[in-house]
């Protein structure tokens, strides 16, 4: 019972944060709404018994990535966005598309997987089990992903470095 109540509270906060993210015209309010979404998702993970994933969700998404978002917004000193009526194509095709998509999703969830919820603790929660999965069962995909991330970081450095700065270091080195 308590479980259901908490699930609903976190769910409502999460959806409200997501809607607020779109409605707000100031970028920093949108970014903070996203923090709320991340935090309430962490609450939902905790309710599913995935305490490690919940903690990582808070540390990585709410604590690190969103701080960098806020940091960039502060640095750019981005003001409130102007509100437009939106494009006509989006209204014509977007709303029916959204309706069809959500009905389809609901049908798949209810008809295909049944209304049976996943029992608490059925998925790996404790750090030890997750470590076994990451570093034992799926070691190769995990390492491949980390190489991919490394390449992305190096690419970002190359793209961000201005050519004259590279020339400068070449002369000095």
């Amino acid at each position: 019972m308590l479980h259901l109540v908490l699930f609903l509270i976190f769910g409502v906060v999460c959806v409200a944060g997501a809607v607020n993210l779109l409605v707000q015209s100031h970028p920093i309010n949108s970014a903070l709404s996203l923090v709320v979404v991340m935090g309430s998702l962490a609450g939902e993970y905790l309710l599913l018994g995935a305490e490690f994933v919940a903690a990582i969700q808070v540390i990585v998404y709410a604590g690190a990535i969103m701080v960098l978002f806020v940091f960039v917004i502060m640095l750019l000193n981005a003001g409130a966005e102007e509100r437009t009526r939106g494009s006509r194509i989006a209204v014509l095709f977007g709303i029916p598309g959204l309706l069809v998509g959500s009905i389809l999703l609901a049908w798949v969830l209810v008809a295909r997987s049944g209304s049976q919820a996943v029992p608490v603790g059925a998925l790996p929660g404790p750090p030890r089990e997750i470590a076994m999965l990451l570093f034992h069962d799926f070691l190769l995909p995990f390492e491949v992903t980390s190489v991919l991330v490394l390449i992305a970081i190096m690419g970002a450095v190359v793209l961000a470095a201005r050519p004259e700065a590279i020339e400068h270091t070449k002369k000095e080195g």
Partner: protein, 345 residues
Amino acid sequence: MLSIETYIIVSVIKTVIALFVLLTAVAYCVWLERKVVGHIQNRWGPTRVGPFGLLQPLADGMKFLFKEDLTPPHVYKPLYIAAPMLAVVFALTSIAVIPIGNWVTIGGVHTPLQITDVNIGLLVILGVTSLGVYGVALAGWSSNSKYSLLGGLRASAQMVSYEVSLGLSLIGVLIMAGSFSLREIVDAQGGTFWGFIPRWNLFHGQIVAFFIYLMAAYAETNRVPFDLPEAETELVAGYHTEYSAMKFAMFFMAEYANMITVACLASVLFLGGWKGLPFGPAWLQDLPVFWFVLKVFVFLFIYIWVRGTLPRFRYDQLMAFGWKFLLPLAIANLVITALIVAVRA
């Protein structure tokens, strides 16, 4: 196991006591700092209010409450008001998972001296402290003044940078204990070497990690020598320039509560938590909270001592120190610890 009603009552009582003790400790930490720094600088520090100035925190609190609460007209109000609240809430939350003593039985209720023992205790603290950046960053931005903005930017950049080294310095301890639970980490530090050196992580190969933690923690809490976010000579007061009265006091409380949390974490992870020295009379060994408080006090005293001794870093020195010295050192320490543990296992 306790029934659910007793469990809730016990938890509420523990929370209230912990918050009361923490807030009192915050107030007297300020007194201690003024007194110690005063003596370092050949002054007396507070002496007028009460014996040894002991009632000074009370007088300060009254003053903060009765000051006019100014809100400058150019601020972005919702975040300007929310920022100090965020700072103080996140600063006070992390005390919930810190164990200050072993299990005790009071009135037939068997309970640990800790608000709650979760199996990811350390991650909870890291998560809560990483959220604490928002208070500082938003205060700087919403004040809409250049000094505040610069202070807020510096603080968030500094806290994000040093959090990496801080986290890596803790992983060595985690490898040795094999658990995220702070209680199990303390339990893993029982026993002695040759009968007289306690088997604390500090003496158990993690001395480098301890000093990395010490330095990263100073930067995380924005204390001297890393107090660039509020460097008075260049930024007036940094991110809280535009705040007055109780809102300013909330930032002040958050800073000192963070110091105490960091000190508690240091004593749990590196100094054996509530475990006493392995010699001395037996009654002294069994004092439950005494050793924990003593270790936290020593750590706080070093904090203040450093503040009274060292000058402030330059900003580029701070970043270079964090990324080019502390981080490689933390990674090297982690790899060596992991190798030793793997070879022994």
